[in-house]
Symmetry: C2
Subunit: 397 residues, 2 copies
């Protein structure tokens, strides 16, 4: 006989999932009701309004896809891209590569604009690609590269793409609610995110938003969307603008009811705090963590100007055993930090300060634990002062 | 400011989601841990074993897809079907039609074998189609049609398909844990289900299983799977046989951690009860409900031999307002029963007895409430004896 599973209480400071506010897991445990129940419909309508606030958009088509961020990415690509299209993808980490995969699986051509991992996407390189590929229909890039902690300039890149008559798809998985993001002001046409980063919700859903220009492209498609599950023409019937009437909602799939309770609660918490306050909180605790990490002598992968507050990638000091350090943090402190992805595996740690995890106590726990574990392993770091450096920063505020 | 959402406690006797055992929502609310945490990996391995038990299979590739049943369906089709293939789909309700959509979005041809809604899929018609279309690669059908409550004979249909060298995809969304299902004994090649039916778990995940013959077809594909998110070549790297070692797990997407806690708990509950006991429980309470419904004078859509115990579709008596009855049940009794789907909308009710909802108290509540509401509305039914008829049945056991 198998026993029930009782996970320990970890502190999650990796690249996500991040620490979940207990209000959110409590919401998730509320009684399941039907996905066509009028009370559920009302909750969905509220959710759309809350997501519009979080994304700073009035797009009517602003909904959570019933699957993780990867499915949100795929929703954007399979709906907007058709076979034979050309899509320019700016890549500066793992997730730009995944965009390329998506483009190619739609039968389209991906023109890759490469930047070094850890750098922002370079607007000049994008402009060169736009000039060289006038047939391009779309530009796609990641606002906050979770693999490196680099932030790219959505406003500038979007504006360039529009000058060359391209639509824009933005990956906001790690940026939403952590750093400035203004879908309407910046003119982003299609965007996807995840719940398990700076919204601090449980993983499994992907907020997406499409403006009218994007919807027009979807409606003018020559071919059917290759995914039935992600076809927005069908999803719109379920989540669409008419959902408040109740009567016109077309059954598409059974919504993940309890997961949506959780997302609703996380968005209520965000509204209570205020979006700009949440951005400021991430910046504050990042600076404290940075003071401590620098005191230890750890170096950031990303230059200060392009650095995300919510994802701190630092180089592992020479001779230090990556796996042993992370295992000690997990086993002795119940603290999870992230490993490097792809070519950065074994070379960097990714320390997340996302959503509910962006707190003073987490910063101090992380620095204490890293300091002790690195000291215990005789790592070549400046042992002993990390916590003091962070506390000194907080006291100066 | 938006308030937190507090759903009422409903009794869910529609086509799903079904009543969720409180042990499952409690499990879901446990602390989120990382999707690469060694303890989470251990839970995933247990889950595979539990799913193998539920499906009666030793297939190594037996995993929950991180999205609802529709995505489980799509996982089967996009991995096994390539452009130009011919797929025979037996349709006897809504979900066979969705299979056709999936086939066509893969660029393949769907040969439809139609049976009347409410009847089982006819093996003779399938054999005729197999003879007429020797190029067919796959046969797909639904074991338990959620739109009508009809059960089809998986063993016979699968055996026929194999005689003509076709692989078989079975939709077990509503059958799993509710009625007999033996993947290995019956030779099913690929199967998908949902969590929100007879597993009585929260909606949002889709267990799938593939045998070696199906995996060989996937590995021999000439083209890439059109969905990145659902590509089993990638998903296998995350959930695959090597997952117990921990070291070889490749990051694919962030697993819906808390939803998986819930599924794990629902499978633990199933193991505790015993699969055959669960099947017998569904049959028992179905018979009690049937006694009551027949006492009311309501007629089943499906002939007795093909009737599913867990999904009871009955014809709405002439002159009765479908919406008014369902609204009264919901508002006055917190009881949800299901409406008809597609051409059956307004003509039938679908009363679910799925998983945790298949209980004596639910049967009695449903019959009492229906009896009172139909009486109140002066429906042409035999008012007053439904509960007694069910109780008399229980007393005879």
């Amino acid at each position: 006989m198998t026993s029930s599973f009782y996970p320990p209480q970890r502190t999650l400071m990796g690249p996500g999932p991040s620490d979940v506010n207990p209000r959110i897991t409590q919401a998730m445990a509320r009684p399941t009701i039907g996905h066509l129940d009028p009370l559920f419909v009302g909750m969905m309508d509220e959710m759309k309004g809350l997501l519009q606030y979080a994304l700073q958009t009035e797009n009517a088509l602003t909904i959570p896809v019933s699957a993780p961020g990867s499915a949100g990415m795929e929703t954007c690509f399979v709906n907007l891209v058709e076979a034979g299209d050309t899509v320019i993808v700016c890549q500066n980490g793992v997730f730009g590569g995944r965009m390329k995969e998506n483009v190619e699986r739609c039968g389209a051509t991906a023109v890759m604009v490469q930047d070094e991992w850890g750098k922002a996407c370079d607007p000049q390189k994008l402009e060169d690609a736009l000039k060289a590929h006038p047939q391009a229909k779309l530009v796609a890039f990641v606002q906050a590269e979770t693999s490196t902690g680099a932030s790219s300039d959505v406003k500038t890149l979007t504006s360039l793409a529009h000058q060359y008559d391209c639509l824009v798809i933005v990956d906001a998985v790690t940026s939403l609610a952590g750093t400035e993001l203004r879908v309407d002001d910046w003119g982003v046409d299609a965007i996807y995110s995840g719940t398990q980063k700076c919204l601090s919700c449980t993983p499994g859903l992907s907020p997406v938003s499409f403006n009218q220009r994007a919807i027009d492209v979807i409606k003018a498609r020559k071919t059917a969307v290759q995914s039935w599950f992600l076809d927005l023409n069908l999803v719109m019937g379920y989540w669409g603008p008419s959902s408040s009437t109740g009567s016109k909602r077309a059954y598409h799939h059974t919504a993940p009811v309890n997961a949506l309770y959780a997302l609703h609660e996380s968005l209520v918490i965000l509204e209570e705090e205020g979006l700009e306050n949440a951005w400021a909180r991430h910046a504050l605790h990042h600076k404290a963590l940075k003071a401590g990490l620098e005191s230890l002598g750890l170096n950031f992968v990303v230059a200060e100007a392009d650095r995300l507050p919510q994802l701190n990638a630092v180089t592992i000091p020479a001779g230090v055993d990556d796996g042993a350090v992370r295992a000690a943090l997990l086993n002795d402190y119940n603290l999870e930090i992230g490993a490097g992805l792809g070519p950065m595996a074994g070379k960097v740690w990714r320390i997340g300060l996302m959503g509910y995890a962006a707190r003073k106590d987490n910063v101090l726990l992380c620095l204490s634990a890293l300091d002790e574990v690195l000291g215990r392993m005789h790592a070549p770091v400046n042992h002993g002062d990390a916590v003091s450096a962070a506390l000194a920063f907080y006291q100066r505020q």
